[in-house]
């Protein structure tokens, strides 16, 4: 039982945001920044915060991720290890304006 609780605690802590985590903010249906450098070759957690009053969906075919970001909320997106290169992403609900790219270095 203690082992189960320990595993659960570790799992929960792993989801908490750290100051070093790369972060994207959605505002006025745009990602800020639109070009974000992230580490290559390691796993990392991208935090995506939605400051708009409507929901957005963070989506990237290259990263194989697709997840709704509710208004006023922040979500973790676990990524990597990525090869060096550029990985486009977009907001599925506002594809005309919500675009960006992760640059893995």
């Amino acid at each position: 039982m203690r082992a189960l609780l320990l595993a659960l605690t570790v799992s929960l802590l792993a989801s908490a945001a750290n100051a070093d985590d790369p972060q994207l903010v959605i505002k006025d249906h745009k990602f800020q920044p639109e070009r974000l450098e992230v580490p290559a070759g390691v796993k990392f957690k991208l935090m995506v915060r939605n400051n708009d009053p409507t929901a957005e969906e963070f989506e990237s075919f290259q990263l194989n991720r697709e997840k709704v970001v509710p208004p006023g909320k922040e979500i973790p997106v676990f990524l990597g290890p990525l090869d060096r290169g550029e990985y486009p992403f977009f907001g599925d609900f506002h594809q005309d304006t919500a675009k960006g790219v992760l640059v893995a270095k």
């Binding site: 799992s11 989801s15 997840k67 709704v68 973790p76 997106v77 676990f78």
Partner: protein, 262 residues
Amino acid sequence: MPLSQRTERWILGACLAVWLAGYALPARADIGELYVYSPILDGAGIAEIEYRGARTFDSDPAKDNAQSQKLSFGYGITDWWFVEAYGEFARDPGPGNSTHFDGTEWESVFQLTEPGEYWANLGLIAEYERVANRKTDSDELEFGPLLEHDFGPTTMDLNLVLTRQLGPVISEPGVSIAYRWETRWRLFPQFQPAIEAFGNFGPISHFSPGEQQQLFGPGAAGKFHLGFLPGDLQYDIGYLFGLTPSSPAGTVKIILEYEFPL
């Protein structure tokens, strides 16, 4: 994700597993279930309208022209819990049969891990099927884990499904076990070729290889952004070859899904 939500979904999944462990169910080939579930959900507030169709082909009339048509509506209650309700029409194989209303299904999918957080993404599915004619058919309770892992540009999904028949007419007593497997190459968003396999081992207490149905074949999936409407239109098609004498020689499946924020 807030800690309380994460804790809550694990507790809910564990409770469900313990509750269902007290049941047992049988397996039968169901061409209405030729769909491999991902444990990854899109999130709260996402709705979907789905059509699933399948038909068998075989030179033996006893296995030819079985059909299943399902229509469903689903909704993401939270970012880790998706519910879906189905209505199913079916045609039994053989000449002279007609399509009839077969029953309703109530399904929940639970996402237990964040995509990419661990080596494999993990989820659970639980489903109750209420048949229209309980004098000849049985209700069914299904439960099982959903696993997913990315291998480079491919994604592999594996579903294990335990089933128990319920109701006055029990044709397969006990718990049966089935699997659904897909490896999909993420070539383009609009076109992703895949290999799929579906098998039903039958009741755990007495496996009978000669009566098992095993299907295997190519498929493709993809999605399109509609532009003039919010959301995406998705498809999942395939042709499955029967690998055992009990399996139909061929089964075609077509799944169409409109997913949108609600």
